[in-house]
Amino acid sequence: MSAVTDNRALFGKLATVAVIMFGFGYALVPLYEKICEVTGVNRVEQADALPANTQADTSRWLSVEFDANVGRGLPWSFKPVETSLNIHPGQLAQVTYEVANHSDRPIAGQAIPSYGPAYAARFFKKLECFCFTQQVLQPGEVRRMPVVFVIDPELPKDIGTVTLSYTFFVVEGATRDAAGV
């Protein structure tokens, strides 16, 4: 009967659309990453370019505070060596963070930065940071890691304090590789 073949043909087409749309959901992942890359949103793991104006604005003082957190299920301790700095906008500064693995196995972690106020993020230029790569810590290992940054002098005048906060998260896949499993 032709009606039955018609129905089956349409079923095939519609089911194909459903399968394609399932794939489309996954295709949104690279698409999203590309859009973020092109528009410059969400660049966590790359060094920033120096600000156009590198002249330190010695007429202004900024308080930069440093914060450190450890995500769930990561047996590490993590803290900034200096908790705050007073600098001029445009002045190159370096601080050190200290991280230690208290477990008896190698673990891979990734630090994710965030900023307070969030608006300050675009003016916070990190030239060197341990957050650009994953950190694999051996059992009992203690590591001191630098962050080199400049705060763009374009930072609006009403911001007097900027907080840089990192959270270390465990990276399961890399941890398994590090353990050689």
Binding site: F11, M21, L28, G109, Q110, F168, F169, V171, E172, G173
Partner: protein, 524 residues
Amino acid sequence: MEAVHHLDHGHEHHPAGIMRWVTTTNHKDIGTLYLWFSFAMFMVGGVMALVIRAELFQPGLQIVQPEFFNQMTTLHGLIMVFGAIMPAFVGFANWQIPMMIGAPDMAFPRMNNWSFWLLPPAALLLVISLFVPGGAAAAGWTLYPPLTVQMGMGMDLTIFAVHILGMSSIMGSINIVTTVLNLRAPGMTLMKMPLFVWTWLITAYLLIAVMPVLAGAVTMTLTDRHFGTHFFNAAGGGDPVLFQHIFWFFGHPEVYIIILPGFGVVSQIIPAFSRKPLFGYASMVYATASIAILSFIVWAHHMYTVGMPVAGQLFFMFATMLIAVPTGVKVFNWLATMWKGSLTFEAPMLFALGFIFLFTTGGLTGIVLSIVPLDVQVHDTYYVVAHFHYTMVAGALFSAFGAVYFWLPKWTGKMYDEKLGKLHFWLSFIFFNLTFFVQHFLGLAGMPRRIPDYALQFAEFNAISSVGAFGFGLTQLLFFYIVLKCIRSGEKAPARPWEGADTLEWTLPSPAPYHSFETPPVVK
């Protein structure tokens, strides 16, 4: 037309008792199953809503702990959307579409059986998840990471439930599209189809396009949880905001999936009780299609506050406002249909009018929310809760009640009690507004949603809202009684109980015979 049972027909020898319902491939049986299932889930989700409102009756924590409160808000949303509203409209589609286009049954009767019987296991998974260690999913119905990546096994059960519900919806939709495109009676051209059929055709296409995207999103959550992927895990280079984009790419069309069949129902009821043909039929069809197409490019208005570029916010703001145009076309067409009509106000008409009035209110707050600077202020407050309950409850649910009263005589062969039906409407209308209208004020004053406790200045409006919610809940027991009374002792209904109703199903006797239109009618 009284010859209901052709004994020589193989399909008539169906098993009796429970197995009749388990093995049935009849579109009317399956429609009935969908509707009862939907009502059961409506009660379950309703009880959860009442737990939420009981806790919010007073400030402070009285009845439940915050963890359980979060589980209630999550399950209430999931169960009402996927368990109550969507199956209700699939139930109407099953009953009505074949009768309205003059087809003998759905195109794939066995798959139809599967579409329904996938639902109870999915619902069971959601309910069981309350009793596993860690409790049910508590991240809100939108299932945002990172919470969903951290939760206990209740989350896995929810993910599987969503998978199963998605499969059921996709199968049901393929069935509907095939039925509508291939099984129409001779002469029933696309542009002669009743609007309910049109809205379902478009809805079914939307479902086929976006349910797989939701399936993908929850699959990514599942692999993030157990298989070391990092789609949404910032540590591995993923991004929780990505989930919101994928989810709302599904979620916004989903909103129209819920409301479009309601538009269809109202477009059947209003002409019938105005005794005039629908005003602007073709524009209604095109408006429905435009709403469906636009629904794909507005998703990020649910997430203005994630930190997207201003250009993005502006695009989604204007695209969202654009949807008011086809929606306005619909509302004005309904009003024009009633203009100079001979109106009567039976229960279906009352619910349709309540729908137009309250849904438009919800649409108006939707326009307000589409404005970026304003949305940033009321994001995640009770203003949003009020907005979407005006569209989901007073919109989708009221149109579903209207549909039940409208077609109940055709399904059961008996009339419901008109007085009680009207009482059901007025009580629902009053208690609904009592519950949700005050939530606009709460939201504008800054009360956040999904939180079990609140500051003292919100106490009065919350008390009013809770009283309204309990009134609304109890009123729905009256609805249950009205339907039971109609089935048991309703007066005999004529084939066409509504004077102005002119679609094909009313040419069949009431109750509609088990097999209808085995010989297709000819539509002129």
